[in-house]
C-alpha cells in the first residue's frame, strides 16, 4: 500500500491488529523486517512472518492468509506511483461485445445485481481511459526502479516514535548497503542516504559516551568508515580495471617485480584485517592520484561487536546474500539470515568473489561476450567452473555487473561500451532452464533504471517462450533452454 504518513496511516493502523508480514527474500527487506519485528515486539503486536521469494509465492501466501489479512506489507519500494483512479475503476460498465457480463474483477457474475443503474455514455471515454492507463502503466512498469531502502523507511518510523535503537540503525545501514552493493540505487542516492544515517550514528554514539559500559564486550559501536572497494573498482574510468588492480598489487608487494596471481592478491586483501586496510588508505590515495583516478573511496559503516569483531556493512551484505541464496526457499531463509548475522561467514564471501573473478577472467579471455546489436550477450556454459554459484540471482547480478565493467574497460569498440548486457546461466539442468538477467549500460550518470523487465515480458509473449517472471526484480527471469534462441531474436528485434 502507498502511504504518506507512515506512522498514522500504517503503524497506528496495524498496531492493534494481527498482521501478516510477507517479506521478500532480499536483504533490504529482511532488515526492514527486523526493525519492524523489534517494534512489534515492543508493542506486543501479533504477527506472522512469511518469507516470499517471488510473485507466485506472494500470491500463494496471500491466498493462504487471506481470511485474516487486512493490510499487506511488502518490502519493495517504488516511486512515482500513479494515482489509484487512473489505474483502477469501479466497473460501471463492461465489454459491449462480451457475453455473460463477466468482465473485470472476480466478484463479477457471482454477486447480486445492483439496485439501480446509471446509463453511461462510455464508448470513446472508455477507449481514451484505457489508452491513458496503458501509457501510465507502461511508464511505471517499464523501468525497474528502486526508491528509498525499506529498512531506512522503517528506521525512520522507529525514530519518529522515539523507539529507535542501535540495532535498528545497524539494520538500516545494512539495508541501504545492500541496495548499493547490488547496484539498485545511484551513487548520489547512496551518498545522500548515507549522510542521513551518519547523523543517526553520531546521535547514537553521542548518546553512549557517558555510558559506563562503553568498554564492555557487549557494547555495539557503529563507526563511519571509508571503504575501498578496490577489488571492484567502481570509479575506474580512465584506467583499465586490470591496471588498477595491478597497481594495488604493486603496492602490496612493495613494488616487487614478481606479481602474484590476481586472485591471490585479492584474497589477501580481503582477508586483511580492517586496521591494516586503514593503513593502506593513504598509500592507495597516493597511487590513485598517481594514476589520475578519481576518488575511489566510498563512504560506509562498520560495526564493532566486543573487541575483536569488526565488520563492514558490505561484508555483511555479501555474507547474507551468499547465505540467502544457498538455501532452499522455505522459512529457513529468514532463520538463516539471522544466523548469518550471528556468525559472519567470511569464507562464503571469499568463495563468491573468487568465483566471480575467475569467471570474469575466463569470459573475457575466451571472448564469450558477444554483441547482438542492441545489447551484449554472454551465456555461461554448463562446464564453466563455479557455474553453480551463478544460478542464483544475486550472485549472477554481481557477476554481470563486474563483467560489464571489465568488458567495457577491455574493449576497444566504442559502440560496445554503451551497450547493456544480458547474461544467461544454467539454472536447473534437469528441468532445462536458464536464468537470464539484463543490466543497463555502464555509465557514470546512470539513473539505475532497468527496462529489461518489460522487454523480457514482451519478448516472451511474442515468441510464446516458456518463462517464469517470478522474481520481484523483474529484470531477472527463468527461461527454458530450448526457447533461448527465439527469445533472444525477439529481444533483438524489440530493442533495435
Amino acid at each position: 500500500m502507498f502511504v504518506t504518513d507512515i506512522r498514522k496511516e500504517f503503524y497506528d493502523v496495524v498496531v492493534n491488529q494481527r498482521v501478516a508480514l510477507l517479506v521478500s527474500a532480499d536483504i533490504d527487506a529482511l532488515c526492514a523486517c527486523k526493525i519492524l519485528q523489534a517494534l512489534f515486539h515492543c508493542d506486543h503486536v501479533q504477527y506472522t512472518l512469511v518469507p516470499v521469494t517471488g510473485w507466485q509465492d506472494l500470491g500463494t501466501a496471500f491466498l493462504e492468509h487471506k481470511e485474516q489479512i487486512k493490510l499487506l506489507i511488502k518490502q519493495d519500494d517504488d516511486l512515482g506511483v500513479p494515482s489509484y483512479d487512473d489505474i483502477f475503476r469501479d466497473d460501471e460498465d463492461e465489454d459491449e461485445d462480451g457475453d455473460g457480463g463477466d468482465s473485470g474483477n472476480e466478484s463479477d457474475g457471482g454477486s447480486e445485481p445492483s439496485g439501480k443503474r446509471r446509463r453511461i455514455e462510455r464508448q470513446r471515454a472508455k477507449r481514451e481511459w484505457e489508452a491513458r492507463r496503458r501509457e501510465i502503466l507502461f511508464d511505471y512498469e517499464q523501468y525497474e526502479y528502486h526508491g528509498t531502502s525499506a529498512s531506512m523507511v522503517m528506521f525512520e518510523l522507529a525514530w519518529v516514535m522515539t523507539k529507535d535503537t542501535k540495532d535498528m540503525l545497524w539494520w538500516s545501514i545494512i539495508g541501504l548497503t545492500d541496495q548499493w552493493v547490488h547496484d539498485k540505487i545511484t551513487h548520489m542516492k547512496y551518498v545522500t542516504d548515507i549522510a542521513t544515517l551518519q547523523r543517526h550514528v553520531s546521535r547514537h554514539n553521542h548518546r553512549n559516551e557517558d555510558e559506563e559500559n562503553s568498554l564492555s564486550i557487549d557494547c555495539m559501536r557503529i563507526s563511519f568508515e571509508y571503504e575501498y572497494p578496490v577489488q571492484y573498482c567502481e570509479k575506474c574510468s580512465h584506467e583499465s580495471w586490470w591496471e588498477c588492480t595491478r597497481a594495488i598489487q604493486e603496492i602490496l608487494q612493495d613494488g616487487a617485480a614478481s606479481i602474484l596471481p590476481l586472485k591471490q592478491v585479492r584474497q589477501k586483501f580481503n582477508s586483511m584485517d580492517l586496521s591494516i586496510k586503514e593503513n593502506l588508505r593513504e598509500v592507495i590515495e597516493e597511487s590513485s592520484n598517481k594514476f589520475g583516478m578519481k576518488d575511489i573511496r566510498v563512504q560506509t559503516f562498520s560495526v564493532h561487536f566486543g573487541f575483536k569483531n569488526r565488520f563492514l556493512a558490505s561484508d555483511v551484505v555479501h555474507a547474507a546474500a551468499a547465505l540467502l541464496e544457498s538455501v532452499e526457499k522455505d522459512e529457513g531463509a529468514t532463520d538463516n539470515f539471522i544466523k548469518a548475522l550471528d556468525c559472519l561467514s567470511r569464507s562464503n564471501i571469499e568463495k563468491l568473489h573468487l568465483g566471480i573473478d575467475l569467471t570474469i577472467a575466463s569470459c573475457i579471455c575466451t571472448n564469450l561476450i558477444l554483441s547482438q546489436g542492441p545489447f551484449l550477450y554472454c551465456h555461461l556454459l554448463e562446464g564453466t567452473p563455479d557455474v553453480k554459484l551463478f544460478s542464483k540471482p544475486l550472485a549472477l547480478t554481481l557477476l554481470c555487473k563486474y563483467l560489464l565493467k571489465a568488458f567495457v574497460c577491455s574493449t576497444r569498440n566504442k559502440r560496445c561500451k554503451v551497450l547493456p548486457l544480458i547474461m544467461a546461466a544454467p539454472m536447473d539442468v534437469e528441468k532445462g532452464t536458464v536464468i537470464v538477467l539484463g543490466i543497463p549500460p555502464e555509465s557514470e550518470t546512470s539513473d539505475k533504471k532497468n527496462f529489461f523487465g518489460r522487454a523480457f515480458e514482451k519478448a516472451a509473449e511474442s515468441t510464446s517462450s516458456r518463462t517464469l517472471h517470478d522474481h520481484f526484480d523483474t529484470s531477472i527471469i527463468e527461461l527454458k533452454m530450448e526457447d533461448r534462441g527465439k527469445f533472444l531474436d525477439a529481444l533483438i528485434t524489440l530493442l533495435s
Partner: protein
Amino acid sequence: MPTENLTDKRLSKFKNKGKDPLKMRERRVAECVELRKAQRVESILKRRNIEFQPVEEPLSPEYNTDNQQVISATIQEIIENVNSDCPERQTQGCQTARKLLSRERNPPLKEVVEAGLLSRFVEFLSRNDNPTLQFEAAWSLTNVASGTSWHTQQVVEHGAVPAFISLLASPMLNISEQAVWALGNIAGDGPSYRDALIDCNVIPALLARLTPDAPVGYLRNLTWTLSNLCRNKNPFPRFSAVQQMLPSIIQLLHHSDKSVLSDACWAISYLTDGPNERIDVIIKTGILPRLVELLTFEELAVVTPALRSIGNIVSGSDVQTQAAIDAGVLTALPKLMRHPKPNVQKEAAWAVSNIAAGPRPQIQQLITCGLLSPLVDLLKNADFKTQREAVWAVTNYTSGGTVEQVVQLVKCGGLEAILNLLTVKDAKTVLVILDAINNIFLAAEKLGEVEKLCLLVEELGGLDRIELLQNHENNTVYRAAQALIEKYFSEDAADECLKTEATETDFVFGPTEVQRRFDF
C-alpha cells in the same frame, strides 16, 4: 442466502411482518436511505450496457470536466435552453444535460436537481410530437433516479412515474426501453416505491412489452426491472403482483441469453426468500426442473442465483424439499460442492445442511446420491465459511438420522473431519461439532459400541482436543466439552459401558474399522 444463518429448517420460518402496504408507501423509510447509500458506495455496478446507441457523437472533454465553474455555467445554459419555447433549444438543453449525467465519473446529479430542471424534464416526457426530446429527457431522468434515495425521491415527486408508465407504450423502442430502465431504478429504491409502481399498474404495462420480437438488449432491461419488482422484503411484494409476473418470469427463465437468465433467476431467488407460502407459489409453477438445470450451467451469473433459489426452497417444509429432490437437485449438488468459487461451495453446503435437517428418507437420499463424500471433502478442505455450513449439515444429519445412517457418515470420514475442526476459533461452530459428536455417541449407545467409539475418537486425536476444550474461554463450550468427557470418557462412564449389552453384530466402531480408516 438470507443474512440469518438458516440452518435447521424448523428454525427457518419467516415471520411476515404484515405491514400495511399503504403505510409503507407513504412513509419515507429512513433506513432505506442509509442502506441504499451504503450500497451505492460499496456496490460495483455490473450491468451490461444496452447495445442500441442512438447518439453517435462521442463525449467531448467539456462534459468530463470536474471544474465546478464550468459545470455551473453549463447548467445555466441548460436552464435557459430548457425553459425556452423553442423545441430545438429545449432538445439541445436536454441533450447537454444528458451528456453531463452520463459521463464516466461524478455526474452532477445534485446540481441538476437543485437547478430545478426535473419539472421540465418530466414535462418533456409527454411530448409525443418530439421523440428526441422525450428520449433525452427520459435518459436524464433515468440517471438522476440512479442515485441515492434522495435523488430517486426527487424524480418521483416531480411526477415522473405516470409519465414513464405511459412511455412504456411508445412506438419508439429506444424510448420505451429508457422508460423500462427508469422504472427499474425507481422500483429498485425499496419496497415503498416498488409497491407504489405496482399500484400504478406498471406490471401489465411492462408485460405487454414482452414480445417475441423484442431485441435482446430490451429484454435484458425488462427482466432486470421485473426482478426489481420482485425484490425486497418488509414487506414482500403482494401475492397478486407476484402471480401477475410469474408466468413471464418463467418464460424468461427459458431464454437463451445469459443476462436475461441471470436476472430472471435472481427474481426467483427474491421470491423464494420468504415464508413457506411464498415458496409454494414458486414450486407450483413447475419451475423446479428448470432451476436444477440452470445449476449445471457454466456461467457463474446463472449458477449463483439458481443455487440461491434452490437453497431457499429446501429451507422450507419437508414437502417442498422433497419437490426439489424429486426435480434432481441431489444430482447437481456434488459438482457444486466442488465448484472453484468458494461462495458456490458455501451455498451448496448450506442447501445440504437444510436437506439433512429433513426426515430420514431424505437423509437416505443424501447417501444414495453420493453427497457424503463431497461433504466430508468440504469439511476437510474448504474455506471456513463453507466448513461452517458443512458442520451444520453433519449435526443436522446425526440428529435426525438413523443409527445406520450415522454409521455411514462415520465410515465416510465424517467423524474424523469434524474432530479436526474442533480447533477452530469460532465457539459457536465448536458447539455445533460437540453436538454432532454427542449425536454420534447416542447412535453408538444404541449399538452398544460406546467403548469402541471412544477408542476411535481417541485414535483420531479427538479426545485430546475435547479435553483441551475444557479450558476454553467460552462457558458453554467448556461445559459441553466437560459433559462429553464425563459422560463417555471418565471412569464412571467406563462402568456404564460394561453394563450395556454387546450386540452380536459386527462391532461397527471396532478396531477393524479403525484400521481401515487409517490405511492410507
